[in-house]
Amino acid sequence: MCLAVPGEVEDIQGRNGVVNFGGTRRKVDISLIDELNVGDYVIVHAGFAIERMDEEDARQTLDLLRQLESAEY
């Protein structure tokens, strides 16, 4: 039920945006996020963007595995 999928914002028209999910495009309500720009990544739940997805944070999380390994071995 709380399934949400990341995608890239390609167009913005008022409270709606077009989000590209790996090639599939869908109209999405973006009114829950302020100051959204084309090119931003968002997480979409049941037709509404609920938050921005942060690329730098994603990189840091992936880096965590390497850090944990170097602490352990």
Binding site: M1, C2, L3, A4, P6, E8, R15, D29, S31, L32, I33, D34, Y41, I43, H45, A46, G47, F48, I50, E51, R52, M53, D54, E55, D57, A58, Q60, T61, L62, L64, L65, L68, E69, E72
Partner: protein, 360 residues
């Protein structure tokens, strides 16, 4: 943005190796409260990668499964006697005390399954008639209804608000003390809205390690590693593994919309009973959109789970689906007995689909 590394086989196996090295000496039980987490765990067979001393159990993380029979029965009544009903697909087949919305549609009622509330609004604008939207879901979904109410709905469009809140349910579970919990794996998309902050009292007051996790297999593994480290260090805290989507204070705009439209209320969770301040209802100024305000609906009492069904224990995390004598025998996805087998987010349904325990 390339997120494929989060389900990369090699990365998950490296994380599994780390988990085995950190294997705790005493048995630890971690609880999650999210059907999407259970889906990731079962689908990728993550339980088979855990040390024997680590157990993950599923709590009441499926909003469809915990919606009360009274709410479902009322919406069946609305569909049969009063108005067109819009519902998310997950809710369509779940029976109340007897019938589901699917049954009502088979008998000719106008019940329409939608992917989004926005689709329901758009259909209602194009073909006007009295309509009611069955608004279920946790904090992730509640702002969708709130922002729609504030934007204005078509004439004769009403809501059955059946939203439930996760932190009050976690508190009730911990206070009930039915199972010993050594750590909580917290739901990423609920947290996207509410933030990481609301979990701090659980770490502080209950001394329980907390990890907010995303929904890829590596997300869950990293969160489990941190939970074990927290147990080891004896310093419980809130670890936000899903920082790419969860801010400390959450989505403030979405929270403000929820506050403007809804107020909290005691709420009945199917199988768990009434939990204090665990639900939402429309504030007085929006009460004219409440389906109960528009139609004269019969008063209802919650119905017990069907005889023999152990969904209540499964929702509490005190039984696995395979502990239920009906599971996979009388109770299967085409012939579900309890709510946890009906919804695609139900623990029984997920275990039936992927095999839950993930080890031979």
């Amino acid at each position: 943005m390339d997120l494929s590394s989060f389900h990369d086989r090699d990365a998950v196996q490296r994380a599994a190796k780390l988990l085995l090295r950190k294997a705790p000496r005493r048995q630890l039980t971690f609880l999650h409260v999210c059907g999407t987490h259970e889906n990731t765990i079962a689908r990728y067979g993550l339980r088979s990668l855990l040390p024997d001393s680590v157990r993950i159990v599923a709590g009441p993380g499926c909003p469809v499964c915990v919606t009360s029979t009274c709410e479902i029965d009322s919406m069946v009544e609305v569909a049969q006697d009063h108005a067109r009903v819009f519902t998310y697909g997950d809710m369509f087949s779940v029976p109340g005390s007897g019938r589901s919305l699917r049954d009502a549609r088979a008998d000719g009622a106008d019940v329409q399954v939608v992917y989004s509330l926005a689709d329901a609004i758009s259909i209602a604008r194009k073909s006007p008639k009295p309509s009611a939207f069955f608004s279920i879901g946790f904090e992730t979904t509640a702002p969708l209804a709130a922002t729609t109410v504030l934007a204005g709905v078509p004439p004769d469009f009403y809501f059955q608000i059946s939203h439930r809140l996760i932190p009050p349910a976690m508190r009730a579970l911990l206070d009930a003390g039915e199972i010993r919990i050594d750590g909580l794996l917290c739901p990423g998309h609920v947290s996207t809205i509410i933030g990481a902050e609301p979990y701090e009292p659980f770490a502080r007051e209950y001394g329980i390690p907390i990890a907010i996790a995303g929904f890829e297999p590596l997300d869950v593994m990293l969160a489990l590693i941190d939970l074990i480290d927290q147990v080891d260090s004896g310093k419980p805290r809130v670890f936000n593994e899903y920082s790419r989507a969860v801010r400390w204070t959450g989505n403030r705009k979405a929270q403000r919309m929820i506050e403007r439209v809804f107020e909290t209320c005691d709420s009945e969770w199917r199988g768990l009973g009434t939990l204090p301040e665990s639900g939402l209802r429309l504030r007085d100024e929006h009460r004219d959109l409440d389906v109960r305000n528009r139609f004269d609906l019969k008063p209802r009492e919650p119905a017990p789970m069907p005889p023999g069904c152990r969904c209540a224990d499964v929702l509490l995390g005190s039984a696995d689906p395979s502990d239920c004598p009906l599971f996979g025998d009388r109770c299967t996805p085409p012939t579900p007995v309890g709510p946890c087998m009906v919804s695609s987010e139900g623990t029984c349904r997920i275990w039936y689909t992927y095999g839950g325990r993930g080890r031979g």
